[in-house]
Structure formats: C-alpha cells, structure tokens
C-alpha cells in the first residue's frame, strides 16, 4: 500500500462552533487510498459534526479539506457526491415503498425519453453487486428487505454515484453480530478494490477488528491516533472517556426470590395489525435480571408496550405480583410498582420542553408530596429535583433547565432517576443505554444492578449483545415475536446468541444446552 502517495482525503484544522459548544476543535487527519480509518468517540465527541462537514451539510468555521491533494470546498451533499464522497447514514435514507433499483438511481435517473430506463439501471446495479460482493436484489421493495440488506443498498447507492471515499456512520448499530461480520467482509472487499473508508463507531470490539488506523475524538478534539495491532480495548476506552473505565459490570450472582412478572401466551399486534408478539411466555423473579436479546423489530418494542399498558393485548395474560394486569391502563400498572425506562426517551421518556424538575415527577405529579388535592406544589417538586440531580449526578445548570438542552446521557439519567425514585418491584428497561457514552452506560448499568440487588425483578430489552451479557442472569432470545430460547447467562456465548438471534435453533447452532437451558421450537 503506497503510504507515500498523496492521501485521498486530508483534513486540516477543521473547527466548528455551535452556540456554547466547540463541536470540532482544530481537527486534522488523513485518509490514505485503500485504508479503513476508524473514528472512535463518545456521543457528543464531534464525530457526526465532522462527518456532516465532510458531506457538506455544515460549513466549517475554520480549516481546509483536500481531496487527492486538491483543496476543495464542499457546499452540500451534491457537491460531496461530485467529489467522490459517499455517506451511509445511521438512519437509512431510503424510500421504503420503492424498489432497490429505484432507490439507487433516485436523483440521477437514467431515462429514455419520458420513461425510466430500468433495464440499464438494474444491470449497473447487478454489476456493482457482483464486483464488490454486495448481494442486493434490484427488483425487491426496500420495505421487504432485512436491515442488513438495506444497508448494502445504501452502499450500492453510494458506489453507483461514483463514491471513492465511503463514510459509514455507526453502520453496525442495527445489525446482528453475524450481519456485522458480513458487513466487514464487504468493507474489506471495497478497500481491496481501491476504495477508502471512514468508519464511525463507539464499539471498541469492532473498531479493533476492522480498522487500519484508529482516531479517537473527545470533546471535539483528536485525543489520540492508534494502531489497532498495538492497542487494547481498555486503552482505547480510557482515551475515549478521559479516565479508566470498567468495561464489565461488577456484580454478584443473583439470588432470585418470588416470581414478580409472569407472562402467559401473550399475543400483541403491531401498528400495521400484524402479529408482533406471538404466544410469548416468560417470567422474571425478584432479584434477577432477565435479558431479552434479539435483532430490533422482532417484537421487543411491542412486548414492552403491552407489559406497560401502552399497547392493547390480543390474548394471553400478564401477571405482576400475582395481580392480573392484562390490558390494564398504564397508571394502574405503574401503581403496582413498575418502573419503565422506555426505548425512545425523546418520544416517551421525557417532555423535552419541560424543565428537569417537571420531568422528574411526570408520573407522580398527582400524589403527595407533589400535589395537595389538585394543587401542584412547585416547591416540593423542586426539592425533589435538587435531591435527584445530586443523587444521580445529572449535569445541568439548574433544575429548571428544559430537558431538551441536556446531553443524551444526562437526559437518560433524568428518566432513570424518576423511575428509581419511587418504590418499585419490577423494572422494565428497554434499550436503557442506547446512544449513550461509556461513562453514562457504566452509571446506568450499575444503577440497574443495584436495583436487582435490592430485590427488584428486572427485565432488560436490548439490541446490544454486550449489554445483555453484562447485565443478565438469564437471557431470553426473541425471534419473530417468540422467545425461541432461554439460556443462563453463565452458559451464553456471543456466537450462540448471535445464531439464535438469526432464528437458528439446534445443536448445530452451538447453543450450550445445559440442564437449565430451554430451547423452545418456534
């Protein structure tokens, strides 16, 4: 590899300020031809800002960008595409009701006269697929494709538009471990044929697996560049956070007590009235963590919504502490002692325009000491907020600051503080650390384990296998609305769980079937 050659991309002293924040502080780096250059950093470290500058979505305040040694100014995505830059966003930019081919050619349609020339487009897509090992069916509708394939469509789209430099923004966030491995094969085939890749991630494991070079960002600055062969996850994490971090949750073995949550043959429909949860049964005991692993979209969201009263139950039963709460109202369920950390904190967990103090009493505003009759006690609400802000280390200028101006980690701490501040028997935590930085993850994981140790039954739903492995005492794998296997955490392996998440059950899947493990046939 010609390291002496001009880098395909060079960035010098890029600086970008937002009101009150220095998002990028004199960032410089180079990208060589055929290199996989990984950017590692916590949320808010400035990775996305930097990539949005490269893609022309933001104007930098200072700094220069060179492509193949020539200084360029990128005025927008179209400009970026012309310069040979392609970006695969974390949230795909595809039209679900159009075909793969239509999505790929969108914006640069080949026409003969008035009509779209689909044949030519399809052929070009097939050629690209073959060349880079990207298996995509040109005629299929996007909405019918699994997420991993949709991501390949995004890559094909970028290549179709002539990208030589590909920016992949958190590409594995939505993939199973196996799909992530497939993506890595594709990425390697791309660089082997001369493409250069910028790979953004906050997952240490995959960064170490894929990168040729690692740049670590913290608070808008480059704090280090590392060679993956000469560094460790611990070192990278410390660099990323700025202090030593515990990568594993330190916990004692569980001492399960009485059954708190019992779910029997639960059936729940999704928004399109398709069956999302299909005859699912599970139980959680006091003082244990049941982790639900699974690729997103296998009914986890609907399960949690049904358990917390936010979604109607078609059939089956939900019992909490022996009380039948099937189809009960959310407030009834909350009052039986259920805490719920919702999957989407912006949609369900917080009222972003409200001050932190109000968000901290969102589900208890109507009770003493926060209300006397129908009169709200602002002083009691503020005292509660002052106490919780200190106890949960919520970094905020004041208790009256709107939740919208907190960082993601602090927003999640507000949710956690609220849910843990009342007496609870059951904790339902959905994606409790999604999008959070390492420091906040550590804090929230420890808080959850502390609840378990105090005898709370915990149900954790997460798409992050690492999180499931770190927290769970037992792991249930959900696939197509069912629990297809329950494995004691001690016997679970990443590989085994990954296969189960893909719906592959049986001895050949390498699932360690001990005396305690149950494998249910779908």
């Amino acid at each position: 590899m010609g390291r002496a050659m001009t880098p395909v991309l060079e960035v010098r002293n890029i600086t970008k300020r937002f009101p009150g924040v220095l998002a990028n502080d004199h960032i410089s780096f180079t990208l060589e031809a055929g290199e996989i250059h990984t950017f590692l950093g916590e949320n808010g470290a400035g990775k996305s800002t930097l990539m949005n500058i490269l893609y022309g979505l933001y104007d930098p305040d200072e700094g220069e960008i060179f492509i193949n040694g020539k200084q360029v100014s990128i005025r927008g995505p179209n400009d970026a595409i012309r310069q040979g830059l392609g970006m695969v966003h974390q949230h795909f930019m595809l039209v679900p009701t159009l075909t793969v081919a239509e999505n790929v050619v969108l914006g640069t349609e080949i026409t003969n006269g008035w009509l779209l020339d689909e044949r030519t487009a399809n052929n070009r897509i097939r050629d690209l697929s073959k060349q880079y090992g990207l298996d995509v069916p040109p005629d299929a509708l996007i909405m019918d494709l699994p997420v991993g394939v949709q991501q390949r469509v995004e890559i094909v789209k970028a290549l179709y538009h002539g990208a030589d430099i590909l920016i992949l923004d958190e590409p594995t966030a939505v993939l199973t471990p196996q799909e992530a491995d497939e993506l890595f094969v594709v990425v390697r085939s791309l660089v082997a044929q001369g493409k250069s890749i910028i790979f953004i991630s906050h997952k240490l494991r995959e960064v170490l697996a894929i990168a040729d070079r690692i740049t670590v960002l913290r608070r808008g600055r480059v704090v280090g560049t590392a060679d993956p062969k000469q560094t460790s996850g611990q070192q990278l994490a410390a660099l990323m956070v700025g202090r030593e971090v515990l990568l594993l949750v330190d916990k004692d073995p569980a001492t399960p007590g009485d059954e708190v949550l019992e779910v029997q043959d639960l059936r729940v429909l999704d928004d399109r009235h398709a069956v999302a949860v299909d005859k699912l049964s599970l139980h959680v005991r006091a003082g244990e963590v049941l982790g639900i692993a699974g690729v997103q979209g296998n009914g986890q969201t609907e399960l949690v919504e049904a358990l917390t009263g936010l979604r109607a139950v078609e059939s089956g039963h939900v019992k909490i502490l022996g009380n039948d709460v099937t189809g009960a109202k959310p407030r009834t369920i909350l009052e039986t002692g259920v805490a719920h950390i919702p999957e989407d904190r912006h949609r369900h967990g917080l009222v972003l325009s409200y001050p932190i103090a109000d968000n901290l009493v969102l589900s208890s505003y109507y009770r003493e000491p926060f209300a006397h009759g129908i009169r709200v006690d602002a002083e009691a609400i503020n005292q509660n907020a002052l106490r919780l802000v200190k106890e949960f280390d919520i970094r905020t200028p004041s208790t009256l600051t709107p939740a919208s101006s907190l960082s993601g980690g602090n927003q999640q701490k507000v949710v956690v503080a609220r849910e843990f501040s009342r007496p609870i028997k059951l904790l339902i935590a959905a994606q409790p650390t999604r999008g959070l930085d390492v420091g906040s993850i550590e804090f929230i994981h420890n808080s959850i384990i502390r609840q378990r140790d105090e005898g709370v039954a915990v149900l954790v739903v997460s798409a992050e296998l690492d999180e499931i492995l770190a927290l769970s005492d037992r792991i249930a794998v959900m696939f197509k609305g069912q629990v297809i296997a329950t494995v004691p955490a001690g016997q679970a392996t990443r590989e085994g769980l990954g296969l189960l998440m893909a719906g592959i059950v049986g001895e050949h899947a390498g699932v360690p079937i001990g005396e305690e493990a149950h494998v249910h046939r779908a």
Partner: protein, 394 residues
Amino acid sequence: MSTAPDDAPRKQVPVETPPLVPIDPDRALAAESPTGINWSNLLTELLVPILAIFTALVIGALIILATGASVLSAYNGLFFGAVGSPLALANTLVEAPPYIFAGLAVALGFKCGLFNIGVEGQLAMGAMCSAVVGYQVIGLPMLIHLPLALLAGALGGAVWGAIPGLLRAKTGAHEVITTIMLNYIAIRLTDYLIKSPFRDRSSSAPRTPFILPSAELPYLFGADYRLHAGFILALIMVFVIWWILSKSTLGFEIRTVGANPDAAQYAGMSITRNFVLAMALSGALGGLAGASQVLGLEHNLKASFSAGYGFDSIAIALLAKSSPIGIIPAAIFWGALRNGAGLMQLQSGISISLINIIQALVIVFVAADQIVRGIYRIRHRSAGQVVFTRGWGG
C-alpha cells in the same frame, strides 16, 4: 422492518446534541428559584409581539402614504378614537370581554395541542343558551338568575366544544375539520332558532325577546359608558385559567398532553380525558364570550350578532403566545384597533379596512416570528418552543 416507520420522527440529518459545559451543580442550582420572576426572560418574550405590532403599524403607514392620505391624521384618529377620552377608553374596554373569553378558549386548546377553530360556533351556542335562560326563566332573583344564565352559556359552549374533543380522542377525526363544520351547524341553528321558535313576535327583525333585568350583567360606570361586569368576569377567568394551567394537576396533564402525548400516555395520563376536558373547557370559555355579549351588552340575541369574535380570538391567542395573562393586553389592543377605526376614517378618510390589514400583518409577524427576529436581529431561544398545534391526525 422498514427504514422509516410511520410513527417515527422524520430525521433528515443526524445531529449530535452538543454536550453541556459541566457546571458545579450546587452553585448553579442555588441561583434560580422556582417562584421568582425572571424579568429578562419576560422581556424577551414580549419583544417579538411588540415589534410585530410596531412593524405592522409601519407597513400600515406606508399603505396610507400610498393612498395619498396623511399618516399623522390617520394614526392620530386611531389613537384618540381608541383611548383619547374616557368614553373612547370605555368603548375600547367594552370590546375586550368577548375577545378575552374567546382568546382564552383558543389559548387553552393550544396548550393541549388542539387547534380549536370552533370558538365562533361555541360562542353562538353559549349566546343562545344564555339568552333563552335570560328571558324564559321568570321569577328568580338576580343573585340566582344571572349566574344561571352565565352557566347556561358556558354549558352550551362546553357541550359544543366537547363533541370535537371526543371525536378527536376516539376516532382521530381532526378537530380543525370538525370544529369548522360545527361552526356552520351552530351558526345556522341559532339563525333558525332566532327566526322561528325563539323569535320575538313583536319585532320586525328576527331576534329573541329581551332578557329580564335580573339576568343582565350590571354596568360598572352607568349605562352611558356601557362597560359591564363581563369585563370583571373575563379578568377573573384569566386568573382561573392561569391557575389551572400552571398550578393544578389538571393543567399539568393538559400541558403534558399538548407538549408530548406519547410521554403523557407513558406517564399514565389519559389522552381521551384530557382532549375532551380541554375542548369542553375551551368551549365553555367560548360560550361565556357569547353569554357576556348577550347578558352585558345586547340584552337579546340577533342574527349574526358576533362580529367574528371567535375567529379573531385565534389571532389574539397567537399574539399572546397562548399565555392567559398575555390575552388581556392582546384583547384590549384588538378592541382598541376596532374601536379607534371609526375616528380614523372620519379624520383622514382612510377606510376601516386598513385595520384589518394591520391586524393581519400583526398575526403574520407573530406567527412567522423569524421575520421579526430577522429584521431586528433578535437571538433565537431554542429551548422551550411553544407547541401551538400538531399536524393532521398527528
């Protein structure tokens, strides 16, 4: 799994939330108390509406110039017609009660994320009910008759408001559509009732009989000044609605449902209950707007007696940025413009329609506040944006 689920917020560009600069929490927290009024915040809040009015008057002046008339004499007339004498001031304040009640109605809806365009209809129903109770119920002392007539007005409006609230909560039918339709029904229904069953046969024009004196809202400064107790009642309602919205659990629920219905539901609040309740309360205020006109000013109900109060109230609520207290100056300003228009026309020959243009411009500048912020280079405060209403079925 699809890439863009229908219910997911559409996201164009992933933007990282900028991290907060860490601040020593103890020191910073002590600085702000929940009860103290933040004057500089209040001033920034007031800045846009005031500049919107100013800008509208400037453009109004340009229009007057274009017609060749004298700006000075026109605005002089407008000013003196509105507040130039005790009588002019009283007449301006006489216009205020229906604007205050109706403006509150719209503002309350906004707080719950509902766009109540049906105040005109609720006002008609309220006026009708209070008029009927005012002349039909005989032999009651004022202490009972007047509250009864007011209550009838509030109730008529509340029922008319609750219907679209219920339809929205149960069927998802958007309140903008249903309230507009209910406006037509209410206005035609009252027209019919005035012309036929409730018509005063002794009158040539279609109208109801006069209400009994025991149902009249008393004048505050004698009949010459026409300013009646409805003005006081309106101010009391401002306080009541302010208290409900900011100090009661009911208001907390209404505001939460308005700001984020998903989070409200998650926290155990009932969307249905709050939609119906907010619309009923809003309708009751609309009904009071009608009742106060009938019981305080007109003393009977004529065909098309409302000068579009229900529709102007949307503008007033926008100008007040849905703040109950803000409704008072906004309503009085509206009344002043309308009241001063006569003298303006007399003095300068400018058509009264100019007032409509100025009112429309004020609303454009308040609703599209970016224009005003752009002209006067006011920094935008990103946090805590007021949610007026959400999209169709959203």
